[in-house]
């Protein structure tokens, strides 16, 4: 009988925990956050069922005196905190990712910050530094409990996107057709382990099952995808895309499928293909010049952004399911460039 009551207590306790897990952690839980580059950046919120859309949630919650900076580039998360990177104002604004209440700003140590990743209590943020010098990029290191900026890691090359896998940082050094390297960094001793020459401008990268998939876009010749084995950093294979395709970007892997975009066209293929054909899964019906500025695949849905060509009025986003069926088009802010998920 004692055992029964003890187990009953545990049962009730676990029931309580389940209830807590189901309750939303804030107004902006269970939905999609769209980052709008700006001018002055804003964040749009769309509920997971697409029924609720709210624009400029940061100003809605925190008022107009504060801002998240000019030209917001990307966002990363640590626990329930969201870190919004502004490359135009050289700062990172820290907010609660579910309530969007302002928490802090980190202003020192950045020079055109771009993308960030979290590992072992620290955040690693790539910085382009000066535009005239492609090799002075660095990684700013932030202590996530004190928000103090520590000594940076110099890259001696371009640094744009960054991911972490098994204690190593992989930084793609590609920017608008330039660059050709992936830098492998050991964050523990802030050293460059090695560099991998992928040949053409790498613009996006993802890891899956010990293999790094790198998408190299080209404006002048064929784009390609490069597979790198992470155990020894060797290039396993390359898949060259048809020349007619154009500049491929936005590599994203979900459920063992590879997704990427070329302008308004979205492609889907298997992980281990050796060739890719120029037959898109779907094409977004838009005449704007920058369709695909932001792209993500999440929960069997594909999100692709469509900024106004002159970057002088609001843009919108398109949502499709992973079979290529259109779901919805939703207006957002100025220059939408990224999708982030609270689920």
């Amino acid at each position: 009988m004692l055992l029964a009551s003890i187990s009953a207590i545990f049962l009730f306790a676990s029931c309580d925990n389940d209830d807590d897990n189901d309750a939303p952690l804030g107004t902006y839980d269970n939905g999609i956050l769209v980052l709008n580059e700006g001018g002055l950046g804003t964040v749009s919120f769309i509920s997971a069922d697409l029924a609720t859309v709210e624009q400029d949630v940061f100003a809605l919650v925190n008022g107009n005196e504060q801002d998240i900076g000019a030209y917001v580039q990307s966002m990363f998360f640590d626990g329930d905190r969201a870190f919004i990177i502004s490359n135009g104002s050289n700062k990172i604004t820290v907010v609660n990712r579910y309530t969007f209440e302002y928490l802090a700003t980190i202003t020192a140590g950045f020079q055109v910050p771009r993308y960030g990743v979290v590992f072992n209590g620290k955040a690693y943020v790539t910085n382009s530094n000066s535009f005239s010098n492609p090799t002075d990029d660095f990684i700013a290191v932030i202590n996530l409990s004190t928000l103090a900026v520590e000594a940076p890691i110099t890259i001696n090359n371009q640094a744009e996107k960054i991911i972490e896998e098994n204690g190593k940082l992989y930084v793609s050094g590609g920017f608008y057709g330039e660059g050709n390297l992936i830098s492998v960094i050991n964050p523990a001793n802030k050293s460059i382990v090695t560099t991998i020459n992928v040949g053409e401008s790498p613009n996006s990268l993802e890891e899956e099952n010990g293999i790094l998939y790198v998408l190299c876009g080209s404006y002048t010749s064929a784009s390609k995808m490069v597979r790198v084995r992470l155990s020894d950093n060797l290039i396993l294979s390359e898949v060259t895309f048809p020349q007619t395709m154009g500049n491929a970007a936005n590599l994203d892997i979900e459920n063992n499928k590879i997704y990427f975009s070329v302008g308004a066209k979205v492609y889907k293929t298997d992980l281990n293909v050796t060739t890719v054909s120029d037959s898109p899964l779907f094409t977004v019906p838009s005449n704007e010049a920058y369709t695909g500025y932001g792209f993500a695949v999440n929960n069997n849905r594909i999100f692709i952004s469509d900024p106004a060509s002159d970057f002088s009025s609001d843009g919108s986003i398109f949502i499709y399911n992973t079979s290529g069926t259109f779901i919805d088009e939703i207006p957002v802010g100025l220059g939408p460039n990224g999708f982030y998920f609270n689920d």
């Binding site: 104002s89 202003t107 404006y219 002088s312 009025s313």
Partner: protein
């Protein structure tokens, strides 16, 4: 300037037809270099701001024109880069003319109106509508004329003016004019600086990194050999040091330095009915933009232009004036972001003005250019002015004007497009002018159609690329009012402007951003013996800030009032002290998004003439 002189000015200006004179004393062709402004503008609207108006306003050209004309300015914060919008057109479609020479930048085709200090000039005129036939590129919405006068008479006048105001604003201006019947020299110097760290109204923030220190020097010299031969030399130097105010407190602090020089040499010979002028001009612009003021690295641009002009005017009869102008210019540009290129432009213009009878005058003009890097259209201008009665004149003008692609458009290293055509415009306007005993009133309506407007759009191989894509139509009306009256020792003047502007992108049907439908200014002046007071007010209507005119992003309209008092100490005109209270109602307003202007602030000045 006494009220009586002002009255005389205005009568003679409006008296052109009735008196059957080719000259207008207010813009005396003998004392200014920009002869065509006086002689070939009868069918358009010209507004002249004389030195007393200039004195009562802030020394920047942007502030002076914002409060005293129909022009609208986009200013990136007080004292920062200011670009004009005249009749709903773009910044590159208003030309600034310095003593008859077009001085818009070779790099971006516009003039920064905060990089011109008004104290150096004797008069500033605003000429509405097209002017490419006379002034070349960019004269579409209108032209702003900066004039220095060279008069051969005995004189020795000095003037020192100092002012001090909020935000550690300090100004110093000195000029001396000396001359005899044979020679004349005028030298003036201005320095205007400010910390510009004003607090935003209703906010905890203040304007940061917005300090500026601008200096300018003018040296003019004239020598008259006899009544038929004279030489004149004009020089103008401007050095501007500005920090660019921050949009958000953590933005990188940047600064900007520009150095502009303008030099003009003119030799005039009059024989029989010919007036022959040889003009040689040398212009140079030089800028450095420090994206990070703590670092040494800067992007820069330098352009030098040499111009040779031959201007021949022939009075065929006392009523018919013919004028031909041949011009050749060579510009060499070099910069951190533009290719090192030399551009040569040759042009020939022909103008004719004919007064028919006592009530009618018509003007006609043509211009053709030949350039190394673009194809110029054939430009023309024609107009009629008729005195319906002694008090009412009706004017009509039609013209074709253009704006050439700039150095940046053609040769920017990342995306410059050498195949660009010039923007071209067709425009027409009708003006009604009423002159009564104390009141002048004019109502002008216009329509402008601009084609091939150059816009920088996202490209494929480079991030941005300029193309001739846009078609814009602007139309609207302008009202100008001047009223003066003296009652014994009291003198009252009222000036007002109102502009209604529709400016739409023909592809989308949307109003262009930052162009208000309504803008109005008014100023009221009162003088009694040694005391004078002045009140000016500006109303700028609501504007769109997004190209799709999404209303949630509109900037509110605003009304700003300024008040000034002045007192003459001792003998008349020698020593004058004044104080101004600006934005007296502490209006919270932004001229551009998130760029607030100062709340209530003051300025005090002292002028000493001897």
């Amino acid at each position: 300037m006494t009220a009586k002189k002002l009255l005389l000015f205005s009568i003679l200006l409006w008296c052109q037809l009735v008196c059957a004179q080719q000259n207008s004393v207010a813009l005396d062709v003998v004392i200014i270099s920009d002869v065509q402004l006086a002689r070939f503008s009868s069918t358009q609207s010209v507004q002249i701001l004389n030195d007393s108006v200039i004195e009562n306003n802030h020394p920047s050209l942007s502030s002076l024109l914002r409060y005293n004309s129909v022009m609208v300015f986009k200013e990136n914060g007080f004292g920062m880069v200011s670009s004009p919008a005249f009749r709903g057109t773009s910044a590159q479609q208003t030309a600034v003319i310095w003593n008859g020479i077009n001085i818009n930048s070779q790099f971006n085709g516009q003039t920064d109106f905060n990089a011109i200090s008004t104290g150096e000039f004797n008069s500033i005129a605003i000429r509405g509508g097209g002017g490419s036939v006379i002034y070349g590129s960019s004269a579409i919405g209108g032209t702003v004329h900066l004039n220095n006068e060279i008069q051969f008479k005995r004189q020795f006048n000095n003037e020192i003016r100092t002012n001090y105001g909020s935000f550690n604003t300090v100004g110093v201006h000195y000029n001396v004019a000396a001359g005899s019947e044979k020679f004349m020299t005028r030298i003036s110097f201005s320095k205007n600086s400010s910390d510009n760290d004003f607090e935003y109204v209703d906010s905890n923030r203040k304007n940061e990194n917005g300090a500026f220190d601008n200096r300018s020097l003018t040296a003019n010299f004239g020598y008259q050999f006899n009544a038929s031969h004279a030489i004149k030399v004009y020089s103008y130097f401007f050095s501007g040091n500005r920090q660019f105010s921050l949009l958000t407190p953590t933005d990188t602090r940047s600064k900007y330095h520009d150095l502009n020089m303008r030099n003009l040499f003119e030799y005039t010979a009059i024989f029989n009915r010919f007036t022959s002028k040889i003009k040689l001009a040398f212009l140079s612009e030089n800028y450095h933009h420090f994206e990070d003021s703590s670092a040494d690295f800067s992007s820069f641009g330098k352009a030098e232009t040499a111009i040779a002009k031959y201007d021949l005017a022939f009075a065929l009869t006392k009523d018919i004036l013919l004028n031909s102008v041949i011009e050749f210019s060579q510009t060499t540009g070099i910069g951190s972001d533009v290719g090192n290129v030399t551009r040569e432009i040759g042009s020939a213009s022909f103008l004719m003005s004919h007064i028919v009878g006592k009530r009618l005058q018509y003007e006609v003009g043509f211009r053709k250019e030949s350039a190394t890097d673009y194809n110029s259209p054939f430009l023309f201008s024609g107009g009629i002015v008729t005195a319906i009665s002694e008090k009412y004149k009706l004017k009509w003008n039609a013209s074709r004007n253009f704006r050439i692609p700039t150095y940046n458009d053609l040769y920017w290293t990342e995306g410059g497009n050498p195949d660009l055509k010039p923007e071209s415009s067709y425009q027409t306007e009708i003006g009604n002018e009423f002159t009564f005993k104390n009141l002048q009133f004019s109502l002008t309506s216009y329509i402008i159609r601009i084609e091939d407007m150059i816009q920088w759009l996202p490209g494929v191989a480079s991030s941005w690329l300029p193309r001739n894509v846009n078609n814009v139509r602007t139309y609207g009306g302008e009202i100008l009012i001047n009223w003066k009256k003296s009652f014994g020792q009291n003198a009252v003047t009222i000036n007002g402007n109102y502009a209604y502007t529709v400016s739409e992108d023909l592809a989308t049907g949307k109003q262009l951003i930052y162009i208000p439908f309504h803008k109005a200014t008014a100023s009221l002046g009162y003088a009694y013996k040694k005391f004078s007071a002045n009140y000016q007010v500006l109303f700028n209507g609501e504007v769109f800030t997004r190209s799709d005119n999404a209303p949630r992003y509109n900037l509110d309209s605003y009304t700003v009032s300024n008040v000034g008092l002045a007192y003459q100490i001792g003998k008349s005109d020698t020593l004058k002290a004044g104080v101004q209270l600006l934005n007296i109602f502490n209006e919270k307003y932004e001229v551009m998004v998130r760029r607030p202007f100062p709340g209530r602030h003051f300025n005090a000045y002292l002028t000493f003439k001897f």
